[in-house]
């Protein structure tokens, strides 16, 4: 612990953790799993520190500009009076405002149990009450020793939520971190989500700011269990503003015949790192990962995915695309591991990128490690520009060049989210992204969505 230097970025945030550990008795440490996790987090951080571009997994993402701000952990007890109308449909809101859980926004919904992690942590430190099975599951999928941001998340473990879906809910669950802060804010959240056998749920994980005054840095760790024949649609919305940063580490563990579909929409947040892994632990589990980055200015999106085939007859398919303008950067690293017992695996991966400026950057790296012999596995990656033949063809049909560009870019992008099952959300995403494309090709505002009616037919 003594190796942690408070002068290094973000390390000043750990002083409260030090205090809580130093004030703890050996008995408390032994019986309180949350204290144990904090300690493991601190120890791991002391060993590795935060990643730098010298770390292979962080090679193209320099965090320095994003972590240098004098961040503070949440202090204000101010609550959010009502849910901002960001999304166009009714949801089950599990909302964190300036890093703190907002239980008053949540009304009881059938089939889902939401438990505040902070409440559990506080309770455990006061009376050491025995914890249930699900509370003990925190840290089971993602260990502090695996990843420095998981370590940091563990060291700061307090706010978060445990979601247990026991019946298919009628509405999507809106898991949102909303900030409105005059000073740089560090939001550390931990989620544990379990879908009981045979249930289906949609979870939207949104990073949103209500004001653009100071940067917000999110460090979010999510552990997700899919029991037999359950189905999860998980949607990451990262289309907020330039001062909204996020490192999101997610692991999904799947049992037999469960299905997961992930959509990661990155189009506005200044820096986002998604470290997403899926473990297909039992036969006939299936995962589909969709990712779309539409980036401009100096935005950076870094998508690291890992799919582990650990059982026979599982399927995974991955489609990540990016449109990168100005000085923006998109990074894709996609790992597929097919373990020896995972015969009859189907695994597909593709990553396609369009560069719109000389200064835009794309790094793409597929990594396949296959140890079974009866496997169908394909991957492909492309980096290119707008096809000029197609632009000319559209121009000869009367489309001005920027309109032709938008039409082609939109078609390229829409492939990623056109299967998204919630129609109002899909239309909303489409509008948000179309507006961004109009901005990128510098098309006058009065043309937006008036002449181009993508939603027709």
């Amino acid at each position: 612990m003594t190796n942690l230097q408070e002068t290094k970025p973000l390390m000043h945030l750990l002083s409260a953790t030090f205090d809580s550990l130093q004030g703890a008795t050996p008995e408390q440490l032994e019986h309180n799993p949350f204290l144990q996790l904090r300690k493991r987090g601190l120890d791991a951080l002391a060993r590795t520190g935060l990643p730098t571009p010298k770390d292979e997994e962080w090679k193209y993402l320099n965090l320095a500009p994003y972590i240098r701000h004098p961040y503070q952990l949440p202090t204000s007890r101010e609550s959010l009076p009502h849910l901002p109308q960001t999304l166009p449909m009714a949801t089950i809101p599990v909302v964190f405002f300036n890093g703190l859980f907002q239980p008053h926004l949540l009304s009881p919904a059938r089939g889902i149990t939401v438990t505040s992690l902070a409440q559990l942590v506080d309770k455990a430190s006061h009376d050491g009450t025995a914890l249930g099975e699900q509370e003990h599951s925190i840290g089971q999928l993602l260990s502090p020793e695996d990843d420095p941001f998981v370590a940091l998340n563990a060291a700061l473990l307090h706010q978060g939520a445990l979601l247990h879906i026991t019946q298919t809910p009628s509405q999507p669950i809106y898991l949102a971190s909303i900030t409105q802060s005059g000073h740089p804010l560090f939001v550390n959240l931990r989620f544990a989500i379990r879908l009981s056998a045979g249930t289906a749920a949609t979870v939207i994980l949104d990073l949103r700011t209500l004001s653009k005054t100071a940067p917000a840095f999110h460090n979010i760790v999510s552990e997700i269990w899919l029991e037999t024949e359950s189905a999860l649609t998980l949607i990451f919305l990262q289309n907020d503003t330039a001062q909204n940063y996020g490192v999101l580490t997610t692991r999904i563990a799947q049992t037999a015949r469960s299905r997961s579909r992930l959509y990661t929409i990155t189009a506005g947040n200044g820096m986002v790192r998604n470290t997403t892994s899926v473990q297909l632990n039992e036969p006939e589990a299936e995962t589909v990962l969709y990712g779309l980055s539409i980036l401009r200015d100096t935005e950076v999106a870094d998508h690291h995915t890992a799919v582990e085939h650990l059982a026979p007859n599982c399927q995974s398919s991955e489609l990540y695309k990016s449109i990168v303008a100005d000085q923006a950067t998109n990074i894709f690293n996609g790992k597929i591991f097919v373990h020896p017992e995972a015969q009859q695996t189907n695994a597909y991966q593709s990553n396609h990128n369009i560069l719109l400026s000389d200064d835009a950057r794309v790094y793409t790296k597929p990594q396949l490690e296959i140890f079974a012999d009866d496997v169908r596995c394909t991957h492909g990656a492309t980096v290119g520009q707008l096809p000029q033949e197609a632009v000319f063809y559209l121009q000869t049909r009367g489309l001005p060049e920027p309109v032709a560009d938008v039409l082609l870019l939109h078609a390229f992008a829409a492939e990623v989210y056109e299967q998204l099952p919630i129609e109002p959300l899909r239309v909303w995403i489409d509008q948000q992204l179309s507006n961004r494309l109009f901005d990128i090709v510098d098309l006058a505002a009065d043309r937006k969505l008036v002449d181009l009616q993508f939603a027709t037919s």
């Binding site: 197609a390 000319f392 063809y393 559209l394 049909r397 009367g398 492939e415 037919s457």
Partner: protein, 266 residues
């Protein structure tokens, strides 16, 4: 016969190069409203270059010459301005546009052209009626309109799709660049029938072809023969038959004896 009318297209002494290689070496052509012209010629004579230059492709350098379309300087206009002014090119090799449905494509094109001409966007019902009629004219079903532009289309479907677009956009002048190539006889008849039935709404055609067979179905008023970047001979439709009978070799020897060509060292 057409003294009282303004020409729709006037090409004067057009010289064009691509990558320092001169392709067009002085083309003159005038098309009046109500006329069908055909340009024939062997491969590499410059026919498709002429079509591409008229449509506004950028890879070409205009060395010399002028082109006026409907009284305006065509070479000063962007491709989309040319389309809005009423010029249409049916591509020899239509381009695939993945992810863009035919309906979205046609509607966007039509509305952009209408907007340029100060008209309101078309209402959905009229639009749908229009494209369905056009599809029917080309022997294409309504499901064709749901497909992505040219993606997975057969060669014949791609060519018919070009004429479908022409039927929807209703230009003043349509240039058909080797639209007959790759069409079987039934599809050729369908295309020819569509071209003929739209004549009138579409004021003039410029039909570029290697073979005479399309001209059995679309009767041109004038046939021009292009050779080595120039129109070396013009006549009525009988010229096409003469070419068909004698082949382009005949033209080569005729041309060499009657036309001044740059001397070659062979």
């Amino acid at each position: 016969m057409h003294n009282e009318k303004q020409p729709l297209l006037t090409i004067e002494n057009l010289h064009v190069a691509v990558d320092d290689k001169q392709i067009l070496k002085g083309v003159d052509l005038t098309i009046y409203p109500g006329e069908i012209h055909a340009i024939m010629g062997p491969n590499g004579s410059g026919k498709s270059t002429l079509a591409a230059v008229l449509a506004g492709r950028e890879d070409y350098t205009i060395l010399q010459g002028k082109v006026f379309f409907d009284g305006k300087d065509l070479l000063e206009m962007s491709p989309e301005e040319r389309a809005a002014a009423g010029l249409f090119l049916a591509f020899q090799y239509p381009v695939e546009i993945p992810g863009v449905s035919m309906l979205t494509f046609l509607r966007t094109a039509l509305n952009e052209i209408r907007k340029s001409n100060g008209e309101e966007p078309i209402d959905t019902r009229t639009f749908l009626q229009m494209v369905r009629e056009a599809a029917q004219l080309l022997g294409l079903g309504n499901d064709f309109l749901q497909r992505a532009v040219n993606v997975g289309f057969s060669g014949g479907e791609k060519k018919r799709n070009e004429i479908l677009q022409m039927a929807v956009l209703r230009p003043k002048l349509a240039i058909l660049d080797e639209t007959d190539s790759g069409l079987d006889i039934d599809a050729l008849k369908i295309v020819a029938n569509a071209v003929n039935s739209l004549f009138g709404t579409i004021q003039s055609y410029l039909i570029i072809t290697h073979y005479q067979r399309l001209l059995n179905y679309i009767e041109p008023d004038y046939v021009h023969v292009m050779y080595d970047g120039k129109i070396v001979r013009s006549g009525d439709k009988t010229l096409a038959l003469e070419l068909e009978a004698k082949g382009y070799d005949w033209l080569r020897s005729e041309t060499l004896s009657s036309i001044e060509l740059p001397s070659t060292t062979t």
